[in-house]
Symmetry: C2
DNA sequence: TGTTTTAAGTGTGCATTGTACACGTGTAAA
DNA sequence: TTTACACGTGTACAATGCACACTTAAAACA
């Protein structure tokens, strides 16, 4: 904020137009929506039904409005297009290449979201043109959205190793196998079952229920829930770090 | 980007005004500039000489212009105010609280920069009102700049553990003690000298010179340089990760 | 010239964590 | 009752992390 850029109004209490000479820009929000269906990591994309790039696959997005901050804009976009709210959202990066949107100069702030595919019913306005893709089989996207997805995958990988965000992608009750499938999808590598379970158990933040999921094996698999309160108490009291 | 938000021009080749109805905003860039003087981690702040918040300490910043992207804006701001270019810069986070700048609605993209305090001569226009503060003794800052600094410190801590960015803060030639001082400042904890040196040497990316720094001890301490080419070769060929 | 002072430089042993690895069990379906 | 299938469980070895103390080189000083 250089001095030369300023144009100060007479009355310092009138907090308007301090920076009148500056260029203004359009600010968009784009969301990388990750989902998990208990087997594979997915990403939600929509087919653009307007120009530019009509008919191509795209992240969902929208523009920042005057009366909201970026987090609120991301929540609004997510809710408008999918009907979902109360979703895990994290700001990722801001993209600003001059020609990134051929329609008009637009800066985009990317967010990524984590949701459990099966526990939510979609009823957003765009849901007919939306589709879940396996995260490794997603089509080519418009603008710099491919780069956003790449960065989101990398971020998710890092976060999942040090924060218990994986549970955002699972239903409240889940089996060890589902949790392992999730981590294998996120980390994009196979894990050893016994080592994985030992590791998870050593963290001591899951509660094993007396209930089994009989849908996959004849023997059935015990269900677990993530004890969020216990986790947070450990973080606050001992500086505990969830580390896989 | 909702359909209702659009106003498409007649000729799809005229790539202008696709999103005419949308609100535009001011986009600022603010830089957290970390420096190291071979002893302590520092941060560069300036005393604001214009309203609002005139006379208070602040990060350096500026506004995004039409003909540049954010990375370029950050470089420009840094060069204008300090005379320095070719500096390590990384985008940190975008801040958008509605009243964050009481002067006018402004969204700010924070960047952090790493420079070696002693190797650079400052000749930027603002340098008379700028001052290096010990990172733990910095004064209260305007707006949400304290929060930006907090986040930058956390990011630097994480990055320094997995990327060789520490060398950006040191002169080309440095002693093991200086490197250890740097990491102790960044991580904000004391390290064991032998374990530190063993760890660094096991990474095998430093070259020990036949030259000593005699300025601190009578015995003198060997100087080292970071072998960037060797590091990059290891990264590309073996997926090597610099991990402290 | 030798004595003192100061930071530099160096290695080992124990504890913790990571990782590879295989078999018996419970249940439903045939 | 047999079969098929995923579930659930423990150990041994390797690698890494971490605590820990003395000798050395050179300048300053007596």
């Amino acid at each position: 904020m250089l001095e030369e850029d300023l144009e100060v109004s007479e009355d310092p209490n009138i907090h308007l137009n301090y920076y009148q000479k500056e260029d203004q820009v359009l600010l968009a929000v784009d969301c990388i929506i990750f989902g998990f269906d208990k087997e594979n990591l997915k990403i939600l994309l929509i087919k653009r039904n307007f120009d530019p790039e009509k008919g191509k696959w795209s992240l969902i997005g929208g523009f920042l409005k005057k009366n909201e901050d970026l987090d609120q804009a991301a929540v609004r976009v997510l809710e408008t297009l999918t009907g979902l709210n109360d979703i895990y959202l994290e700001q990722l990066h801001t993209y600003s290449k001059i020609d990134r949107d051929p329609g008009q100069r637009t800066i985009s702030v990317a967010y990524y979201a984590l949701i459990d595919v099966d526990s939510h019913r979609f009823d957003g306005i765009q849901i007919d043109s939306a589709h879940w893709f396996d995260v490794n089989e997603a089509p080519d996207l418009i603008f710099d959205h491919n780069e956003m997805v790449r960065k989101a995958k990398a971020r998710l990988k890092r976060r999942a190793l040090t924060k218990p965000i994986g549970f955002e992608l699972l239903p409240e009750k889940f089996t060890m196998r589902q949790l392992q499938n999730l981590y294998e999808s996120i980390l994009d590598k196979e894990l050893d079952k016994r080592n994985f379970i030992n590791k998870i158990n050593s963290l001591d933040v899951l509660v094993k229920l007396d209930e089994k999921d009989m849908s996959v094996s004849r023997k059935g698999a015990y269900l677990y829930v993530f004890d969020k309160d216990k986790y947070q108490k450990k973080v606050e009291e001992d500086g505990f770090i969830f580390k896989l």
